[in-house]
């Protein structure tokens, strides 16, 4: 007889209390084992809760969409054949159009006016090709990457759809938003235009965290 038994034996209903107590101890042990098993991988490290990782990824994407939907970005991602201008996103003056290769139409190419750098004399914006600082990269995103009018879920789905995004993986997308001179222009758009409000290096950090956490995008609410 141990002390425990002596103590429990001294109470009024020892016949039913002992099995109940044992059952309770077993239940606690069992639950502990189940919890330990679910929190440990083969290496013995505690894994991160998948649900919270997904939520973190979605929070990063929410920040990313604020940038993507800023006029400096989305003005060249129209869902029709007309580039936009200004913070009010009006159609580009003088009936400027997309054209067959997203670079304007004959006689009115994007590069008829937009060169490889912001023109401080005329005020016309410009950006260079990645490997040629004298060649202009100004053009529209393809129609399949039109974002104007999309909500976050629609934008996310379109962004990740390789059939629509030029066969880009999430990693490719992050690289595009990190290095492409036309994307970088949005942080240095020249006088009279509001740049993207958060610094580009902070945006890149958010992109990388989004990628690390699974590059999640919100699902469309079917209600």
């Amino acid at each position: 007889m141990n002390l425990f038994f002596k103590k429990t034996a001294s109470v009024k209903n020892p016949k039913w209390q002992r099995p109940v107590l044992l059952a309770a101890i077993c239940l606690v042990l069992l639950l502990s084992m189940v919890r330990c098993k679910s929190n440990n991988n083969n290496n013995g490290y505690v894994s991160i809760d998948k649900k919270s990782v997904k939520e973190e990824s979605l929070r990063h994407f929410e920040e990313i969409t604020k940038v993507l939907q800023h006029p400096r970005c989305i003005n060249c991602h129209p869902n029709d054949n007309y580039p936009r201008q200004g913070d009010d996103m009006h159609k580009h003056l003088f009936n400027v159009q997309r054209g067959p290769d997203d670079r304007g139409i004959t006689g009115m190419k994007c590069t008829s006016c937009h060169q490889a750098s912001n023109n401080l004399i005329s005020g016309v914006p410009g950006a260079p090709q990645p490997n040629d600082s004298l060649a202009s990269r100004w053009h529209l995103a393809p129609l399949s990457m039109g974002w104007i009018g999309l909500d976050d879920a629609e934008l996310g789905a379109r962004l990740l759809d390789k059939k629509q995004n030029g066969n880009m993986s999430p990693k490719d997308l992050v690289e595009h938003m990190t290095d492409d001179p036309l994307v970088l222009w949005a942080w240095d758009p020249g006088p009279g235009r509001e740049p993207i409000p958060i610094p580009h290096d902070e945006f890149v950090e958010i992109l990388e965290k989004w990628l690390e956490t699974g590059a999640e995008v919100p699902k469309k609410n079917k209600d």
């Binding site: 006689g107 190419k109 590069t111 060169q115 401080l120 004399i121 005329s122 004298l134």
Partner: protein, 155 residues
């Protein structure tokens, strides 16, 4: 010094690389047919060709013309006979004051090289130059006339 070809002749200028090509053409090279209109690439009075493309030279820094071939209104004919577009412009009596017309003609030459039989819609979409005299309907007629004349010359 920046070297480029203008109307087939190699030219070297000592202007600031940021100088708009328009002012290099007018003041350093001395060709006055290309006009200053708005200075913001809106109106197209300053249109010239750089290589194979129409550009608004008021918004085209000289540095981007280095090593390239530039054509102005003075260079579209061979020096003996007017270009078919210029002939059409005269036949249809397009200009009123005439100030912006060299830009219209430069845009039309390039349009017809790429699209020899443009519809009215093609013309409206491609020739976005501005004319304060309102010569647009005559411009459209002259573009169609130019297309006819070019076809005749080719046959």
């Amino acid at each position: 010094m920046i070297k480029f070809k203008i109307n087939g002749t190699v030219t070297e200028v000592n202007d600031d690389p940021e100088t708009p090509l328009l002012w290099v053409i007018r003041d350093s090279v001395g060709l006055k047919g290309t006009k200053f209109g708005c200075g913001k690439a809106f109106c197209g009075a300053c249109s010239v060709h750089v290589e194979d493309q129409v550009v608004r030279s008021c918004s085209f820094p000289l540095k981007y013309a280095a090593g390239k071939s530039v054509t102005t209104i003075e260079g579209i004919s061979d020096g003996q006979e007017l270009h078919p577009v210029q002939k059409a412009w005269i036949e249809e009596q397009v200009p009123q004051c005439g100030y912006c017309q060299s830009g219209f003609i430069m845009s039309t030459v390039k349009l017809l090289e790429k699209n020899p039989n443009p519809s009215d819609e093609d013309i409206n979409n491609s020739i976005t130059n501005l004319c304060r005299c309102g010569t647009y309907s005559r411009v459209r007629k002259a573009v169609h006339k130019s297309a006819e004349l070019i076809k005749k010359e080719q046959n």
